[in-house]
Amino acid sequence: MQPFTTLTGIAAALPIPNIDTDKIIPARFLKTIKRTGLGSALFHAMRYRADGSEDPEFVLNREPWRKAEILIAGPNFGCGSSREHAPWALLDFGIRCIIAPEFADIFYNNCFKNGILPIKLPQSVCDRLAEDAMLGANARLTVDLARQVVVRPDGEEIRFEIDPFRKRCLLEGLDDIALTLAHADAIAAYESRRRAAEPWAVG
């Protein structure tokens, strides 16, 4: 996984509540056996018109937000399905950080597994960041994961909270399967205990 340390980039505002995973990427684009190449289907229904052309009103179709790396989103972003194609599509488009008042649980988890940093900040703060985002290329935001701050274009620093284990995994780009496999003996011991107590459960 690509580590996440600091990011300075253009932020796009999409302050709509309950953007679900079908809006992020509709199911008919999930027929792939790869993780890459999904960026073109990102936000498909909002981004393209019925004839397949780009909707010039949609923020990610406009300059400079076509190159956005940070998304300022609304509450309950990523609700719905567990499809990891949602963060894969965002990543493939170039989004590395999403800031929202609240995320749906599974989507939030999936971001961390893909080097995307999801940041929870209160609605009022997200509103201010969305105003920054509207200014475009002259108002880049900086996200510093080690220091846990978002830096606004005027230099104001906004602190965010993050689980320490997830922070470390992102900063170092760790493979959490390898981390868990380091505990293989404990897993085997657990299986023996359960096998004795509940043979129907673990076989």
Binding site: S81, D105, D175, I177
Partner: protein, 473 residues
């Protein structure tokens, strides 16, 4: 409960029994007892294993079936769509390479993963169960801790049979009283989502309790736990009881003989202790629940069938007004329209929410002796091949077919429109599925969620209809 021990919830007990090791910051290595796998969210996980030179730790605890992307029409010629075919072939290749139990497309046991797991007795009380699908919450109906995971976590479970997790918060939802005539488990769960909102359960596991939940059969309990995710909760739970045990006894993968007796004795210790603490507690009265339908594009947008399309201008904030206006625009609805005056083009009876034999019986009871209204396309997609066979033994297929319904093969079908079963732009569907999101059932499609009996009522009247006016009390 041992004397002096802290009273624990059902969730706490299952959690505690599955912690392999607690890491320094409170993250737990949580053991996973059953891993269900389907064709859409697993190919990249198997590929990841191969790239890292790893193998599944417990293929014997892993079960696979293709459901999301499979045709529900005649399958004798295989899968026509090349991408869908490749996805199913990839699953078949992976299960063969790694020795995973698989229910193939031509096997009667094939079906929607959340119908198949319980049906085969793979799902049991007290287990941890995961699947790369958010509706894994369904299995909580048996008192199993079951939740959806992404593909990276599918790979993690394949490689380690564990997940790195932090405990969820406990929420208790009690539904008390007796459900009124024409009201079902689907109406109960829609009422719950309307009450707490689509983010109301975020970070929580919801335990459902109260006399209404106790009196539900397993199909109804599965419907409720299934839609926990629509309330933002990753998992729903219902304490196992005699209804659970008698439903499971004799299932192919359930324990037998002495092991069964030991298992039941253990399962009886699982219900929450008196005095167990919940972070939040919600109480609903059954008498407040009517047959419900959704009007918008979020499962919380619920009104009684006797109601009308709400007015966005009644919302408190401009952001909410704008969101509701957008929904009505998408849904092609005007404020004040009576729900029962809304005409439908398509009726879909199926999905992991409502495709079990009990659901089909409820729909058939309404359809019996009637015809699908002119201009309406109506389909029944049973949850599994075994559900289909059972329905055919009971003659339900004849009732549906004589009325003009399509009687199809098992799969996820029009719930998410990955296969050819999709709405056309602008089409309006009465659906027993779980999500009314924009484009969910096909680009531009308009979904109204409801119970199987209510969907059947819509099919025979050609509009959203009150099932209580169609069947004798």
């Amino acid at each position: 409960m041992a004397e002096g021990a802290r009273p624990r919830t059902l969730f706490d007990k299952i959690w505690d029994a599955h912690v392999v090791e607690r890491l320094a910051d409170g993250t737990a290595i949580l053991y996973i007892d059953r891993h269900l796998v389907h064709e859409v969210t697993s190919p990249q996980a198997f590929e990841g294993l191969r790239l890292a030179g790893r193998r599944p730790r417990r293929p014997d605890l892993t079960f696979a079936v293709a459901d999301h992307n499979v045709p529900t029409s005649d399958r004798s010629a295989g899968i026509e769509e090349p991408e869908s075919r490749l996805q199913v072939q990839t699953l078949e290749h992976n299960v063969a390479e790694f020795g995973i139990t698989y229910f193939p497309l031509h096997d009667a046991r094939q079906g929607i993963v959340h119908v198949v797991g319980p049906e085969q007795g793979i799902t049991l009380p007290g287990l941890t169960i995961v699947c790369g699908d958010s509706h894994t919450s369904t299995h909580g109906a048996f008192g199993a801790l079951a939740f959806g995971i992404g593909t990276s976590e599918v790979e993690h479970v394949l490689a380690t049979q564990t997940l790195l997790q932090k405990p969820a918060k406990n929420m208790l939802i009690e539904v008390n009283g007796r459900l009124g005539f024409g009201c079902t488990a689907k109406d109960v769960v829609l009422a719950i989502i309307a009450r707490i909102g689509t983010a109301g359960g975020t970070g929580h596991v919801i335990e459902y309790a109260g006399d209404v939940i106790r009196s539900l059969d397993m199909a109804g309990r599965m419907t409720i736990c299934n839609m926990s995710i629509e309330a933002g909760a990753r998992a729903g739970l219902i304490a196992p009881d005699d209804t659970t045990f008698s439903w499971l006894k004799g299932r192919p993968h359930a324990p037998r003989g002495e092991a069964w007796d030991r298992a039941v004795a253990y399962w009886r210790t699982l219900p929450s202790d008196a005095g167990a603490q919940y972070e939040s507690r919600i109480v609903l009265a059954a008498t407040d629940i009517a047959p419900l339908v959704t009007w918008g594009t979020s499962p919380e947008d619920v009104v009684p069938i006797t109601g009308a399309v709400p007015n966005p201008e009644d919302e408190a904030t401009e952001a909410r007004r704008a969101a509701k206006r957008r929904m009505l625009d998408y849904m092609g609805l005007t404020p004040g329209t009576r729900m029962q005056d809304i005409r439908v083009d398509v009726v879909f009876i199926g999905s992991c929410t409502n495709s079990r034999i009990e659901d089909l019986r409820a729909a058939a009871a309404v359809v019996n002796g009637r015809k699908v209204a002119d201009g309406v396309r109506a389909m029944v997609v049973p949850g599994s091949g075994l559900v289909k066979q059972q329905a055919e033994r009971e003659g339900l297929d004849r009732i549906f077919k004589e009325a003009g319904f399509e009687w199809r093969e098992a799969g996820c079908s029009m719930c998410l429109g990955m296969n050819p079963d999709q709405l056309k732009p602008g089409q309006r569907c009465a659906s027993t599925s779980n999500r009314n999101f924009e484009g969910r059932q096909g680009p531009g499609g308009r979904t109204h969620l409801m119970s199987p009996a209510m969907a059947a009522a819509a099919a025979v009247t050609g509009r959203l209809a009150d099932v209580r006016e169609l069947v004798a009390h």
